[in-house]
Amino acid sequence: MSVVTESARHTVVGPAPAHVGNGGRRNIVPGNGRLRTLQRNSPPPGSSAIWVGIAAITMMFAAFTSALVVRQGSGPDWQHIAIPRVLFLNTLLLVASSVSLEVFRRKFSAHRMGPEAEMRLNPRWLYASLVMGMLFVAGQYAAWLQLRREGVYVASNPSSSFFYVLTAAHAVHVIGGLGGLLYLIYLLRSQVLRRTTLDVAATYWHFMGALWVYLLALICVKL
C-alpha cells in the first residue's frame, strides 16, 4: 500500500493525457506522492492482442496435429499421399513474402517524417508481399487441383482428409492476412499508417509463414 505524505496537489500533473493505460509497469504513484513524468507511450493493446490471436490459432493447429497423430494410429487405412511439388514453390513464395514485408517494415521505421520523405516512401515491398501472398493461395489451390486430378479427394482416405483440412485452414488464415495487407496499403495511401499497426500485421504475416513451414514438415513426415 503506498503512503502519500504530501497533499493531493502533487498527485496530478496537469490534465491527464487523452490516452490511458500504462497502469502497471510505469507511473506507479510512489511513496512521496510525486508522479514521475507522465510518459507518452502506453503499451499498445494491439501488440498484446496479436499474440492472443496467435495463441488461439496455435492451439487450433495443435488440436489438428493431435487429431492427425491419433487418427494415424487408430486404423489400418492410412495411405500416404504423394505431396504435390507445387507446395515447395508455395513455401518459397510465402517466405519471400515475409522477407519483403520485413524489408518494408524496416524502411518504414527508419523513414523520417516530412512531406517530401513521405512521397519517397516506396510501397513496392508491401505490394510485393501482397502479390506473393496471393500467389501462395493460388498455388495451394493448384495443389488441390493436382490431387483432384489424381483422384485424391477429401474423403478418399484419412491422410488426404488431413491434407485438405490443414491446408484449407491455413489458407483461410492467410486470406485473413491478405486482408490485413490490403488494409495496410489503404492506410499507407491515406497517410495514416502507424508503426504499431504495421508491426502487428507483420507479426501475424510472419506467423503465417512459420506456421506453414511447420505444416509442410508435418505433411511431409506424416502424410
Binding site: G21, L35, P45, G46, M59, R71, V154, T196
Partner: protein
C-alpha cells in the same frame, strides 16, 4: 501525415448518435455487457423450461404434457414425450445452460461491463471486435435454437456429442442429421465469439490499466476474468476444430471419428478407421477447462461481494489468485477423468486421477479462505451477500462429491449415474448461478441506476437455496442406488422403485422454477421503477463505484483515475469517518494499525 514513432493510441469513440448504434450494434462495452446478460437471461429461462419438461417426464412418464404435441407432433404426439424427444430436450438443456448461460453471464456479461471500468479504462481496446463477439454468440444461439424447427428436431446425443452417434448422420436417430450439424455449427460459432471476446479481455487487463493500477491492485473479479479469458483462449480453440472435423464426417464422408465395420440400424456405415476416443479427447480437453471457465468468474464475484459485505479484506487475496491460477493450470491435466470407463488404457486413469485429486486442493484453499474471512466478522446481509454465501455452500456440496468421482475405482460404479448429475449440477448449475445472482444484485444499481427490491431478493434467495437442495441432493442417493443417467424412463425393477425420488425432485424443480419468477419480476420492475441508486450504495472501494450509476459512455466522464490503493481497503479508520477508502482516493487511514491485504 503519419507519425512513424507514435505507438498506437486507444481509439476513443464518442457517444452513440443513433438508436441502432446505441442499443443494437453498439461498440460500448457496457451495452455489450447488458446484451450478453439479456442473452444469458433468455437462455436460462429456455434451459429451465426444458428441464421442467424433462423432470415432468421422469417423474410421470406416461403424462401427456399440454401443448407439447403442438410444439412437436412427432417428438411428442398427443403431448406424450417419445424417448428420443426426451434425449433431444436433454441435449439442448445441457448445451444451452453450459454455453449460453454459464459462459455468457458471469464472464461475458459482467466481464464486458465491468472489466474496463475496474481497471480504469474508457473501453475495451477493440470495440468493434467486441461488438462482433456478441453478435457472433447471438448468431450461435439462434442457430442452436433453430434446430428445434428444422428437420426432425435437435440433436439427441447430449451436450457432449460423443461420436460415433454424432458422426454417422440421420441413420442414428431423429435430430442426428441436420440437428447435429446445426449443433456443431452453433458451437463452432460460439467458440469464435468467445475467442473474439478474449481478444479484448486480455489486452484490456494487460495494457489499459489506469495509472497506479498494478497487478496487485486489481480487484479479484479482474483477476478472475483475466484467468478465464486465458483459459477460454486455449480451450475454445480446440473445440472449434473438433466441431469442424465432426461436420466433415457428417457432410463430406470423412472418417475422423467413425470406426470401421460400424453397423447402425442394420446398415454398415461407409466409414472406416476413425477413432471415437479422439472425439472424447478433443472434447474433454476443452470440456474440463470449460467448467472452470464457468466457475472462476463466479469465484471472483463471490470474493468481491464478500469483501464488501464483510467490511474487511480476505485473509489472503494473493493465495486466492494463486489458487485460481492453479485451477486454470490443472484443469488441462484432469480432463481424462471424464473418460475413466471409455476404454482408454487404465494406466491413463491413474495419470488423470492424480491431478484430479490435486485440483481439490486449490478449490479447498479458496473455500477455507472465504470461511476464515467470514469467521468472527460482521457480515452485512443483503441479497448479494446471501447468494455469495450460498455459492460457498453449493460449491462445498458439489466439490465433495467430485472427490469421490475422482477415483477411478469408485467412478467405475458411479459414472453415468445420477451421482455425476448431482455433482455437476451443484458445482456448475447451482454454484455458478448463485454467483451470477450475487453479481446481479450487487451490480444492478451500477448497471441500471436503480436498486433491486431487497425483501424480494432475500425471498428469492431462501426459496432457491431450499429448492436446489431439494432437487439435487437426492441425485447422490439415486446415483449410489445405480440410477443410470440419460434414461427417459425407469422400467427395470431396481430403478422403478426410485421413481418417487424423481417425483420429489420434480416437485422441487417446479417450486424452484417458480421462485425464479420472483427474480424475473424483481429484475424487470426494478429496471424501470426501482429506487434510484446512488453512485456507491454498497460503500465499496473498487473503481466502478467511483463513477455515476449508470456510468457515462466513457466510464469516468472525462476523468482518468489514478490509483493509490488496492481495492479492499475496508475496516480502516479515515478522517472522513468512513470504514473504507476508495481505490482512487489519496486519503490514507488515520490509524497506524490499518489492516492491509497481504
Amino acid at each position: 501525415m503519419h507519425d512513424v514513432r507514435a505507438t498506437q493510441e486507444v481509439k476513443h469513440h464518442g457517444p452513440p448518435a443513433s438508436f441502432i448504434r446505441k442499443y443494437i450494434f453498439s461498440i460500448d462495452h457496457k451495452v455489450i455487457g447488458r446484451q450478453y446478460y439479456g442473452l444469458g437471461l433468455l437462455a436460462v429461462f429456455v434451459g429451465m423450461g426444458l428441464s421442467w419438461l424433462m423432470r415432468l417426464h421422469l417423474g410421470w412418464t406416461s403424462l401427456a404434457i399440454p401443448g407439447l404435441g403442438w410444439l412437436n407432433p412427432v417428438g411428442a404426439p398427443g403431448g406424450l414425450m417419445t424417448p428420443e424427444y426426451y434425449l433431444q430436450l436433454m441435449t439442448m438443456h445441457g448445451t444451452i445452460m453450459v454455453f449460453f448461460v454459464l459462459t455468457v453471464a458471469p464472464f461475458a456479461a459482467f466481464g464486458n461491463f465491468f472489466l474496463p471500468i475496474q481497471v480504469g479504462a474508457e473501453d475495451m481496446p477493440f470495440p468493434h471486435i467486441n461488438m462482433m463477439s456478441f453478435w457472433v454468440t447471438f448468431a450461435a444461439f439462434a442457430v442452436l435454437i433453430s434446430s428445434f424447427f428444422f428437420g426432425d428436431g435437435p440433436s439427441l446425443a447430449g451436450w457432449t456429442a460423443y461420436a460415433p452417434l454424432t458422426a454417422v448422420g440421420s441413420i442414428a436417430g431423429p435430430g442426428q442429421g441436420l440437428g447435429q450439424v446445426l449443433w456443431a455449427f452453433s458451437i463452432a460459432l460460439f467458440c469464435v465469439g468467445q475467442l473474439l471476446g478474449s481478444l479484448n479481455f486480455i489486452p484490456t487487463t494487460l495494457d489499459l490499466r489506469a495509472k497506479g493500477m498494478t497487478f496487485s491492485r486489481m480487484p479479484q473479479t479482474v483477476w478472475a476474468w483475466f484467468i478465464t479469458s486465458c483459459m477460454g483462449l486455449t480451450a475454445f480453440s480446440v473445440l472449434m476444430p473438433a466441431c469442424i472435423l465432426l461436420i466433415m464426417d457428417h457432410l463430406i464422408g470423412t472418417s475422423f471419428f467413425v470406426p470401421s465395420n460400424l453397423v447402425v440400424s442394420d446398415q454398415l456405415q461407409p466409414h472406416s478407421g476413425g477413432s471415437t476416443l479422439l472425439w472424447q479427447h478433443l472434447f474433454w480437453f476443452f470440456g474440463h477447462p470449460e467448467v472452470y471457465i464457468a466457475i472462476v468468474p463466479a469465484m471472483g464475484i463471490v470474493s468481491h461481494v464478500l469483501i464488501t459485505s464483510l467490511r474487511r479484506p480476505l485473509l489472503s487475496w494473493k493465495t486466492i489468485v494463486a489458487s485460481m491460477v492453479s485451477l486454470a493450470f490443472l484443469s488441462y491435466m484432469v480432463y481424462g477423468h471424464h473418460m475413466f470407463v471409455s476404454g482408454m488404457n487404465p494406466v491413463s486413469s491413474l495419470v488423470f486421477s492424480f491431478p484430479t485429486l490435486i485440483i481439490t486442493i486449490p478449490s479447498t484453499i479458496i473455500v477455507l479462505i472465504w470461511l476464515g474471512s467470514i469467521y468472527q466478522s460482521r457480515l452485512r446481509v443483503n441479497s448479494a451477500s446471501l447468494f455469495a454465501l450460498g455459492f460457498i455452500s453449493m460449491f462445498i456440496t458439489g466439490g465433495v462429491s467430485g472427490f469421490f468421482l475422482a477415483q477411478p475405482s469408485l467412478d467405475i460404479m458411479l459414472h453415468a449415474t445420477y451421482f455425476v448429475v448431482g455433482h455437476f449440477h451443484f458445482v456448475m448449475a447451482v454454484a455458478a448461478i448463485f454467483g451470477i445472482f450475487s453479481g446481479t444484485y450487487f451490480w444492478f444499481p451500477k448497471m441500471f441506476g436503480r436498486m433491486m427490491n431487497e425483501p424480494l431478493g432475500k425471498l428469492h434467495f431462501w426459496l432457491t437455496f431450499v429448492g436446489v437442495y431439494g432437487i439435487f441432493m437426492p441425485f447422490h442417493y439415486l446415483g449410489l442406488a445405480a440410477n443410470v443417467r440419460r434414461y427417459q424412463a425407469f422400467v427395470d425393477d431396481y430403478t422403478t422403485r426410485l421413481v418417487p425420488v424423481h417425483q420429489f425432485s420434480t416437485i422441487f424443480a417446479l417450486f424452484t422454477g417458480a421462485a425464479q419468477l420472483i427474480f424475473l419480476y424483481n429484475l424487470i420492475h426494478s429496471r424501470f421503477w426501482g429506487k434510484l441508486a446512488t453512485d456507491n450504495p454498497w460503500e465499496s472501494t473498487s473503481l466502478e463505484w467511483t463513477t455515476t450509476s449508470p456510468p457515462p459512455y466513457d466510464n469516468f466522464g472525462g476523468r482518468h483515475p489514478i490509483i493509490y490503493h488496492d481495492p479492499y481497503q475496508f475496516g480502516v479508520q479515515t478522517a472522513s469517518g468512513t470504514d473504507y477508502i476508495m481505490q482512487d482516493s489519496p486519503e490514507e487511514s488515520v490509524s497506524e494499525e490499518t489492516r492491509s491485504s497481504s
